[in-house]
């Protein structure tokens, strides 16, 4: 291990900008001659737009454009990552509270805000649906016009997609179960609440357009903008400065197409920085009802799992349906289950479009299935740790017949978490413990390119299209280059976030970047090494096969030279550089239920010790242990930050976070005062994270992806501890004091 290289924790690349305030996020970038944009929205979810009068708004000094759907190309373009269903501006009818019906561009923010208030929209409020039950009622209105879903047999319903997965014959084996446990568990609507609200800018750029966005997937945005504007990709330049937190909410295009049209219409740069409240109306996680029916033998071994997961997605699909299929598909967990039947539905509603959110559709069924397992353990008189160990897949076991076999020693992770929490040791009265496991499939497909330039002085520039939104990808890529090319980390620059400069990367999601882009960076470094080998062979008159390049050293027969001793003479009087290219591809598998098998699994075990205030229902977490199998931590300090952060973020949906909708479909707790996320005061009294490193991942040096694992099973672990402490079983999240208190009141007296 070197001070800079793999397994070390050098200071974050980009860290100095973050602690001095010089890091430029989208909202910090000032474009010359910019116009400020403000959205016009209605005060209800669903309404028929009768007319829009922009005349008063246009009279406001400084206003340059009031854009309505009528000013857009007709029919109004629609876009989306999975379905092209989201219009640039609402067409005829709004579908959720906060959907823009018009937008104002003005010389100042004040003028834009004033004019937006003066856009007079006459509208007729229409009946709308905000729940799964209402959406599935045949008497309810359709959220989407069937015309935008041609050739879709479900277009006449509010079910966007119904996914069926499984193996074995549940009905045939059900009779052999000694115990069947069936319950329904609900998971709330929560929002990402990145501290950086979403922001978008666009400007005419020669014969093309430049777009700045808080986006996680700049190349995907480039494709959306190019398609919608009819431009070649090369004429759409996307700048994606490091996002100030993403968590999935910033994966896909939202308002960039609108701002792009406004920039082209005005011929000037346009800037739309959302407020936090507007960001709440832009992104959320799908709320979910999961019914689990599971059969067990008397020794605790699973016989079958029969799972129905209904996810309430929003008015437009965004990437929500993919979270439904991926989360539903993995819902039988990391266990050996002879027969599995899963149905997962994405159900449309007149609410904020839900999208990817750390855990990507998995935390919802994990909450249900892990809680169900605890209920079975109690009925069978088996310890919750023991029932999990009896069912857990062993390394190499094809626990899901159509997918990647178990790729880790998962039992080791579970046993370590149990050891750390002191599982089985006596507890004082009023305290309880809970343990749960979470597993998530990594990326199913992927394509990442990287270019690495070794400059004449030995310094290095790495190009990687990943977005560094806090996970520390820049640092990890720099460490890989330091390890392979011998440069100190201070001599390495990592360039990201500019589609005109940085090679293509599919996306930053699914904890993929260390593995997929990391392998591309590694391959590019190895390409540079190959050129160094050829250079050394030429300079020293040896066969190329006799030369080895390793960690900044060129090994020739009989002697080792620093890279620079080959590079400088090899490049000669004109100088120059060596350029390496790397590619990492994980191809689609058309016959796979998800279109591709898991590149790796994120596996976590969480164990907590809790105490409940019987008078208030308030839960105190005395200890919270989270153990993740990461393969190999390339940067242990950053890995710890990701694990602890995901664990605490998981406490949000477990204990406090949920949207509250009113009868008009407005989010009542919009903004930071009424929507609580964990603060420093909500930390468990003791939070301990550990990693398991067996070097068994597909990424560089045996790494796996690792940024979501410790969020996955926080809720079932905490609920199990509450049950252990108080005897009450709660099947609805979040476990607010009120909910816990009510459950305590209803507890049967012994």
């Amino acid at each position: 291990m070197s001070a800079n290289g793999i397994g070390a924790s050098p200071a974050r690349v980009g860290g100095i900008g973050r602690v001095t305030g010089s890091q430029l996020y989208v909202a910090d970038i000032r474009l010359q001659d910019v116009l400020h944009v403000k959205l016009v929205t209605l005060d209800c979810a669903r309404a028929r737009i009768v007319s829009i009068d922009t005349s008063a708004a246009e009279q406001v000094p400084g206003v340059r454009l009031v854009m309505t759907a009528a000013e857009l190309p007709q029919p109004v373009p629609r876009f989306g990552p999975q379905f092209s269903d989201r219009p640039v501006l609402a067409v005829g009818e709004t579908k959720y509270h906060g959907e823009p019906v018009a937008a104002v561009a003005a010389e100042t923010k004040d003028a834009a805000e004033e004019a937006a208030r003066l856009v007079w929209v006459e509208y007729e409020e229409l009946p709308a649906i905000f729940s799964i039950a209402a959406a599935l009622d045949p008497a309810s209105p359709l959220v989407q016009d069937p015309a935008i879903r041609p050739n879709d047999p479900l277009a006449g319903t509010n079910v966007l997609r119904e996914h069926r997965f499984g193996w074995g014959d549940v009905d045939a084996v059900a009779a052999s179960a000694d115990l069947v446990v069936e319950n329904t568990y609900t998971f709330p609507m929560v929002t990402h609440f990145a501290i950086e609200p979403h922001g978008f800018m666009a400007a005419p750029d020669g014969d093309g357009i430049a777009v700045w966005s808080t986006i996680q997937h700049p190349n995907w945005l480039q494709k959306i903008i190019a398609t919608i504007l009819g431009l070649p990709l090369a004429k759409v330049r996307v700048f994606a400065p490091d996002p100030g937190g993403g968590f999935g909410g910033k994966q896909h295009a939202k308002l960039e197409p609108l701002v792009a049209f406004m920039a082209l219409e005005t011929g000037r740069p346009c800037r739309l920085i959302l407020t936090l409240d507007e960001t709440f109306q832009a992104v959320r996680r799908s709320s979910t009802e999961v019914r689990v029916r599971a059969g067990f033998r008397s020794d605790g071994r699973l016989v079958f799992r029969d799972i129905e997961a209904n996810y309430l997605v929003g008015a437009y699909a965004d990437i929500a349906d993919r979270t439904v299929s991926k989360g539903g598909y993995a819902s039988s967990g990391p266990y050996r289950v002879p027969a599995v039947r899963i149905v997962a539905r994405s159900i449309l509603s007149h609410t904020t479009p839900s999208t990817a959110f750390r855990g990507f559709g998995n935390p919802q069924p994990i909450w249900a299935v892990e809680s169900n397992m605890d209920e079975a353990a109690r009925a069978l008189g088996i310890d919750p740790l023991e029932i999990r160990l009896r069912n857990l897949a062993r390394r190499g076991e094809a626990f899901n017949p159509s997918d990647t076999p178990a790729d880790g020693d998962w039992e080791q992770t579970v046993r370590r978490a149990a050891e750390l929490i002191g599982w089985g040791s006596p507890l004082p009265p009023g305290r309880g413990r809970g343990i749960a496991v979470g597993m998530k499939s990594g990326p199913t497909t992927g394509l990442s390119y990287s270019t690495v330039r070794l400059l004449v002085d030995g310094s290095v520039i790495v190009y990687a299209g990943t977005s560094d939104m806090g996970q520390g990808a820049r640092t990890v890529f720099a460490q890989i280059a330091a390890q392979e090319l011998g440069a100190p980390i201070e001599w390495i620059t990592v360039v990201m976030g500019d589609t005109a400069v940085v090679p293509y990367d599919q996306q930053t999601s699914a904890s993929r970047s260390t593995v997929l882009m990391g392998n591309a960076v590694l391959a590019a470094c190895r390409d540079v090494q190959a050129k160094l080998r050829a250079m050394a062979a030429r300079l020293h008159g040896v066969d190329e096969a006799q030369v080895v390049v390793q960690r900044g050293v060129v090994r020739l027969p009989g002697r080792d030279l620093p890279i620079l001793d080959i590079l400088k003479p090899g490049l000669g009087r004109l100088g120059g550089e060596l350029i390496g290219n790397g590619e990492m591809r994980k191809d689609a598998e058309p016959d796979h239920p998800l279109g591709g098998s898991a590149a790796f699994y994120e596996f976590n075990c969480t164990a907590v010790e809790a105490e409940v205030d019987e008078g208030t229902g308030d839960i105190t977490l005395l200890r919270h242990v989270t153990v993740s199998d990461v393969g190999k931590a390339l940067n242990p300090l950053q890995a710890r930050g990701q694990d602890e952060g995901a664990a605490i973020q998981g406490l949000g949906h477990t204990l406090m976070e949920h949207y509250i909708y009113d009868e008009k479909g407005r989010i009542r707790n919009l903004g930071a005062i009424d929507y609580r996320i964990p603060t420093s005061m909500d930390l468990p009294l003791e939070l301990h994270s550990e990693i398991v490193e067996n070097g068994d991942g597909p990424g560089p040096y045996g790494s796996k992806g690792m940024s979501e694992g410790s969020l996955l099973c926080v809720a079932p672990a905490v609920a199990a501890a509450v049950r252990d402490a108080t005897g009450v079983v709660i099947r609805d999240l979040p476990l607010t004091p009120e909910r816990v208190w009510r459950a305590l009141q209803e507890r049967p007296t012994p």
Binding site: G15, V19, G21, K109, R640
Partner: protein, 158 residues
């Protein structure tokens, strides 16, 4: 018409004369008039702490202070923490402990921590957690942030 008022404010030791709109906040003026974008904008209701600055030695949410209220005041922002190109011990500790992840809340965290240490140079971890309770971090790096503040306090003793 927007009413405009002249103010004089000293920001990070530099005296500035400005004419500001009466409804604009100190946050607006720092970011939009002075180009000091290190101070961040998030909730605008004084809950998230991203816009935390020091105003005459007090820690404030600059989104809740009208710019005119800062007339003749001393303001310190995150840009004022480093001196002569050297990071402050607090900034260095944030780097060393991995406390800055996405970084968006960090200027506010640093200013709140700066104020905390000015008032209580030897805080315990519970005192640090309480002192930073008004600064949200969605990366939830609270544990590493509090370790950084503790390390900075200890470094000041050496």
């Amino acid at each position: 018409m927007t009413a405009m008022i002249p103010i004089q404010v000293t920001v990070n030791g530099r005296a500035r004369a400005l004419v500001v709109a009466t409804h604009h906040t100190l946050l607006d003026v720092l970011r939009d008039d002075l180009g000091l974008t290190g101070t961040k904008e998030c909730c605008l209701v004084g809950e998230c702490g991203a816009c935390t600055v020091m105003l005459d030695g007090r820690v404030v949410d600059s989104c809740l202070v009208l710019a005119v209220e800062a007339d003749r005041a001393q303001v310190t922002t995150v840009e004022g923490l480093a001196h002569d190109g050297h990071l402050s011990p607090l900034q260095q500790a944030f780097l060393d402990k991995g406390a800055a992840q996405c970084g968006f809340c960090i200027p506010g965290q640093l200013m709140a921590a700066h104020a905390l240490l000015a008032e209580n140079p030897h805080p315990t971890i519970p005192e640090i957690l309480e002192g930073l309770a008004g600064n949200l971090c969605r990366c939830a790096g609270y544990q590493q942030i509090s370790e950084a503040v503790l390390a900075a306090a200890e470094a000041a003793d050496r």
